[in-house]
Symmetry: C14
Subunit: 73 residues, 14 copies
């Protein structure tokens, strides 16, 4: 059960991170193209929100590694 | 059962956080590009709502860690 | 059964809160960018509706914690 | 069975409340930005419809609590 | 079986009510912002259709309560 | 089986009624905002189509009540 | 089996009728708002297509009633 | 098995007919509002395509009635 | 098994035909409204593509009737 | 198993053909309305791509007939 | 198992080919309507990409025929 | 198991290739219509990305053929 | 289990690669049509991101080949 | 179980990476076409966010390789 969960969970984690950071990256590149002189502020907001998502995603990935290696069962 | 739930739950938590914060980050970068002089207010609203989501997501992740480590069973 | 429900339920709760507060945060940052002088009213409406969602989400998370810790079974 | 239903049901309740109130909050913040002088009427309609949803959602959450605590089985 | 149905059914009921009333509330706040002087008519149509949905949703919730409390089995 | 069907069926009935009447209510409020002097005709069409949906939804809900109370088994 | 099918089938029937008549009602109210003097023709087309859907939906609901009451098994 | 199929099949048939005729009715009412003098041609095309869908849907419903009444088993 | 397949298959066939012919009917009515003098050509293309779909759908329905009546088992 | 596959497969084949040819028919009727003098070229491209889809769909339907009649088992 | 896979696989293959070639055919007919004098280039690109999809789809259909006829088991 | 996977996998492979190459072909035909003199560059990018997808899809199809013929079990 | 996973996994890998590279190819062809003189930069970004996706997809496909050939079990 | 998870997980990982990086690549190519002189900044943001996604995806793929090779069971 833990093994099944580890693989599928890792997949959904990557799906979540991909969709979320993908939306941010999409908006950031379009925003820089529209307003190149504000690229510092935009990059700041981009990294900040991407880091929020990355944090949750890595936490989820760590849970999946725990399950894959059978730690805590 | 708890192990299965831990992995899939962690995945859906990351999916939720990714979609939610992704939408916020997308809007924030586009808003800063459109109105660079209001970037303080925008960053404030961005962090506030992202923190609301982050809070629920971390709470969900903690539940999944409890399940993965078999605490409370 | 309760453990399975706790994990998946926590995931869907975070998904709901993420999508809902994400939409609000997206609209709020875009609205502040469009009308910076109304940012007080906008922030008020944003926090009010986000709190409605947060309330239901935390209630759902508490149910999941009850299930994860086996209280009331 | 009741425990499984409690967790997943609580999740879907939060998803419904999140999507519904999220749409309302999104529209309300955008409307206030577009017409700041009508913010009283807008806030009234916002709270009224959000309360309709909140009512059904809390009713659903109460059913889930009944199930989680094993009342009425 | 009845308990499983009660929880998941209550969740879907709340999802339906949330999406439906959310769409109405979204349109109503936007309409008031666009035409503040017609806010009486708009509020009337808003409450009427929201009440239609609320009626079906409460009926569905009552069925779920019947199932959760084991009445009529 | 009948109990399971009663709960989930009631949920989907409410979902269908919510989405359908929600679309109508959304269009009606927006239409009144755009053309306030035609609000009589609009309200007529709104109630007529909402009643069509309400009729099918109540019929579906009655079937679910039959199942929940075990009539006709 | 017939009971399970009756409930879920009734739900999907209501979902189909709700979405279909909802789209028609949405378009009809918007059309009347845009062209009030053609409201007779619009109402005619609206009722005609809604009746097509209503017919199939009622036929489906009758099948579900047959199943719920155990006729023809 | 036949009973299960009869109910769910009837539901999906109504869903298909609802979505299809709903799209046609939506377009027809909007088209009449845009071009009232072509309402004869529009009504012709509307009825013709709706009848195509109605034909397949009724054929599907008849199959479901066969299954519900246990004919041909 | 054949009976289960007959009902659900008939439903999906009707869904496919409904969505496909619905899109065609939607476009045809809108096209006639935009260009009434080309209604002959439009009607020709409409019937031709609708007939393609109708052909596959009827073939699928015939397979479902074969299954429902137990021919070829 | 083959019978189950025959029915559901035939349904999905009709769904695919319906969606695909529906998109083509939609575009073709709209294109003829926009550019009536190019209706020959448009009809050619329409029939060519519809035939590609029809070919795969009929091949899929033939596989389903093989399964329904139990040939090759 | 092979028979079940053959039918459902053939259905999804036809769905994929239908959606893909449908999008291409839709774009091609619209493009010819917008730029009739480039219809040679457009038809070339249309046939080239449709052939790519057709190739994969026919390969998938051949796999399904292998499974339906029990070759290689 | 391998046979079941071969059929369904082949279907999803064709779905992926169809959607992906369909999007590319759609964009390419529209782009040529908008900018006929850049059709060489457009065709180059079209073939390059379509080949990337075709490569993965054929690799997936080969895996399915391996499974269908029972090689490597 | 490994065989089942190999086929379905290969299908989803191809779906992911198809959707991702399809979006990139769609944007690239449209961008070249809009700005032919920047086609070098565009082709560079196109190949770079397509290679990122191709890398993950090939890694996923290799995992599926490992499973299909029973290596590492 | 681990083998099943490895294949499906690898597929969902590739799906997530494909959708995410696809959105970024789409936006980047369009942005370069709109603002060629800002292509350095755009390429920087593109690679940064694509690397965030690639990192989570490779981590997920490594978990799937661990499961496929049976390490840590």
């Amino acid at each position: 059960m833990g093994l099944l969960a580890a693989g599928i969970g890792a997949g959904i984690v990557a799906l979540g991170a991909g969709l979320g950071i993908g939306m941010i990256g999409k908006a950031a590149t379009e925003s820089i193209a529209r307003q190149p002189e504000a690229s510092g502020d935009i990059r700041g907001a981009m990294i900040l929100t991407a880091a929020f998502i990355e944090g949750v995603a890595l936490l989820g990935a760590v849970i999946c590694i725990l399950l894959a290696l059978g730690i805590g069962q």
